[in-house]
């Protein structure tokens, strides 16, 4: 089998992520593909800490830390600043968590997407505000415990469909990706890198600390999310042309995914069954959009 993942490491050793952090691995892959002629802007999120405190940095590329809701537009500013100085080659990546993307950062993302600014926006989605101590976000799935959705009042309601929101902007490239499928992930990163305009990547990134899962299960959980159809892998060109990049041959039950995570421990069979139905329902809607 021919490997598609670049060998070169851009990220330096010494990052401060928790054991089994999906977000750290996602960044490692992203920088492998984007290379050293890239710069990052990161708002408040785990990665604001993972990169290291002043005067340390692990990223290996210039990194501008910014306020929670501003990653996309600081990216636009970086791009404009480079362009006016004659640099159109350097890749600008806005890198944020689900809170900074699904919630507080959505307005600036929508603005940059509508202007089709030439940046790559990557959300590493760990489904809650993990850096502040596991508070629910609009990316938190139904049924999950968080510190603001305690067991007696666990999250009831749907996870916001950020991909549909981005596709509605008709941006040139939108994709979901997973650290459990690195070839698929790097392929999508390459596509995004080669595309002009606003690119949006949604990377599923398990968080052992917030999900109350064993760090050794991070890849397993990321894989199960895909294999249960909870997090299908696909890409969308110009917001219209949907292509499934990883078709699951034998779909696994949602329970296999939930049982490995403490955040779902309180759920009874009825709730698990409801989650299964919701997952099947969501996938049946999405499936119709895929071209053959």
């Amino acid at each position: 089998m021919k490997l598609t993942i670049p060998e070169e490491e851009v990220m330096n050793p010494g990052h401060l992520a928790c054991q089994g952090c999906g977000g750290a691995l996602a960044m490692r892959y992203a920088l492998k593909v984007y290379g050293k002629n890239s710069m990052l802007t990161i708002p408040a999120c785990c990665w604001a800490v993972i990169d290291g405190p002043f005067p340390y940095t692990t990223a290996g590329v210039p990194l501008f830390h910014t306020a929670f809701e501003t990653a996309a537009v600081v990216g636009s500013g970086l791009r404009a600043g480079l362009k006016v100085q004659g640099n159109e080659e350097t890749n600008v990546i806005a890198w944020a968590g689900d809170g900074g993307t699904f919630d507080i950062g959505l307005q600036a993302i929508s603005g940059a997407a509508e202007r089709n600014d030439d940046i790559t926006y990557i959300v590493y989605d760990n489904e809650a505000y993990m850096n502040t101590g596991i508070q629910r976000s609009s990316a938190t799935p139904h049924g999950a415990w968080t510190t603001t959705t305690p067991v007696k009042h666990y999250k009831k309601g749907k996870k916001k469909n950020i991909i549909e929101i981005m596709a509605a902007h008709r941006i040139p490239y939108t994709a979901t990706a997973s650290i459990a499928y690195p070839e698929d992930l790097t392929k999508k990163l390459k596509k995004a890198k080669e595309t002009k305009g606003f690119k949006f990547l949604h990377i599923f990134a398990p968080c052992p600390t917030g999900w109350k899962s064993d760090p050794k299960n991070t890849i397993k959980l990321a894989k199960l999310a895909v294999d249960t159809n909870i997090f299908p892998l696909y890409e969308i060109i110009d917001g219209l042309e949907y292509t499934q990049t990883k078709k699951v041959k034998k779909v696994k039950p949602v329970k296999e995914y939930t049982k490995l995570q403490g955040r779902f421990k309180h759920l009874n069979d009825e709730e698990i069954q409801y989650m299964q139905e919701q997952t099947d329902h969501n996938y049946s809607i999405l499936e119709k959009k895929f071209s053959d």
Partner: protein, 382 residues
């Protein structure tokens, strides 16, 4: 070359003459003409700049921050609610030591909705680490833009130039436009020592623990202190090119004055006329216009008021629960240094007109009074 223009267009031309490279803006009355003109200037190819039409003022400032971090000269303009929305990013720009320049049209904060002159918007941003200039004429707005970049890029702190809604933003005045060549010599391209550069990868604004943060603030204070001299030097250099001198304060007939009125913005221009009329009546009144409030020109103020018997500060702003803001600041500066009594006068909030006769009346009342007042509401309907 002399031209007639509205104050807002003086801001646009100032940005053009300064060769702003990235402009990011969101519309708000009465700022809109500034960015409309700049859109035309950029579209016509008269200025080599990227114009980002953002979806909010918060994003306008954020885009300027990103652009400035790459070493580009960034510009924006706003007013009132827009400036308030930027608040978080104003801190970010200043602590990030990014020399962004902005025009702010002084407009009253809502509710009730008001689009008229009032300084509470900009003075609410007093402690963000921005240098603040209060312009009183269209010429002042134009010249202050170049001067602001000159100073900001030297001390690495951002500056905004504030000026009154409509009284200045939409009033046509004669403005002497400097030649681009002269400005290019005065204001060379921005070339920061540290910037977002793939050849020299660094992180900016990372987690800063108790070992370092305190010193960042200390260094900002040093930069503000240094800025006092840098503003003066830039003012002198600018005078050599244009014949127009700018300083942190602008005293008018203060040398022998018994009463010094302390003013800012367009009220300062009106007060000069009032001073002339009062002088005709044999009353020794002077006008001290505060042009820069951050850094605070304490030394210049003390030097100017020395010898005066009374000071009256006219504030088109109010820190509810205390006093007018220029008045508080002035009293703080005088404390321990002199015992000249100070009257704090509130006037013209929400764009109510302050006429020459009003200022003459304020001066007369102060001259007749023996007891200083923290707040005297001028022309209020009780």
């Amino acid at each position: 070359m002399k031209k007639t223009m509205m104050g807002n267009f003086a801001a646009s031309w100032g940005a053009q003459l300064s060769r702003a490279q990235v402009i990011a803006a969101y519309p708000i009355t009465p700022q809109t003409l500034i960015v409309e003109k700049l859109s035309e200037i950029v579209a016509d190819g008269k200025l080599d700049a990227e114009f980002i039409k953002v979806e909010s003022e918060h994003s306008a400032m954020s885009a300027c921050i990103g652009a400035s971090a790459t070493g580009a000269r960034a510009y924006t303009a706003t007013s009132a609610q827009g400036l308030a929305l930027m608040h978080e990013m104003l801190h970010w720009a200043a602590l990030g030591r990014l020399p962004i320049v902005m025009a702010n049209v002084n407009r009253a904060m809502a509710p009730g909705w008001s689009i008229w002159a009032d300084q509470n918007d900009s003075l609410s941003q007093r402690d963000t680490g921005w240098m603040q200039i209060y312009a009183s004429s269209a010429q002042d707005i134009l010249d202050s833009t170049m001067l602001a970049y000159k100073v900001s890029e030297q001390v690495l702190l951002p500056t905004f130039i504030s000026f009154d809604a409509f009284f200045l933003s939409h009033t046509v005045e004669v403005v002497d436009m400097p030649e681009q060549e002269e400005i290019d010599k005065f204001l060379p391209p921005f070339n920061p020592e540290y910037k977002m550069d793939v050849k020299d990868p660094r992180s900016f604004g990372a987690l800063t623990d108790q070992q370092y943060y305190y010193e960042f603030r200390y260094k900002m204070q040093n930069a503000m202190d240094e800025a006092v001299d840098v503003i003066k030097e830039a003012g002198k250099e600018y005078e050599e090119i244009t014949g127009r001198r700018y300083d942190l304060v602008q005293p008018y007939k203060c040398e022998d004055a018994d009463l010094i009125l302390v003013t800012s913005g367009t009220i300062a221009e009106t007060t000069n006329v009032a001073v002339d009329r009062l002088r005709e009546q044999g009353k020794k009144v002077g006008n001290l216009k505060i042009r820069v409030i951050r850094p605070y020109p304490k030394t210049d103020i003390l030097k100017t008021v020395e010898g005066a018997e009374k000071i009256a500060v006219i504030d088109r702003n109010i820190s509810n629960g205390y006093h007018g803001i220029f008045s508080q600041e002035l009293k703080g500066a005088l404390y321990n240094e002199t015992d000249i009594p100070v009257w704090g006068l509130i006037a013209g909030l929400g764009g109510r007109d302050v006429k020459v006769e009003d200022i003459i009346e304020m001066a007369d009342k102060t001259l007749e009074s023996d007891s200083p007042q923290d707040i005297r509401w001028e022309g209020v309907k009780r």
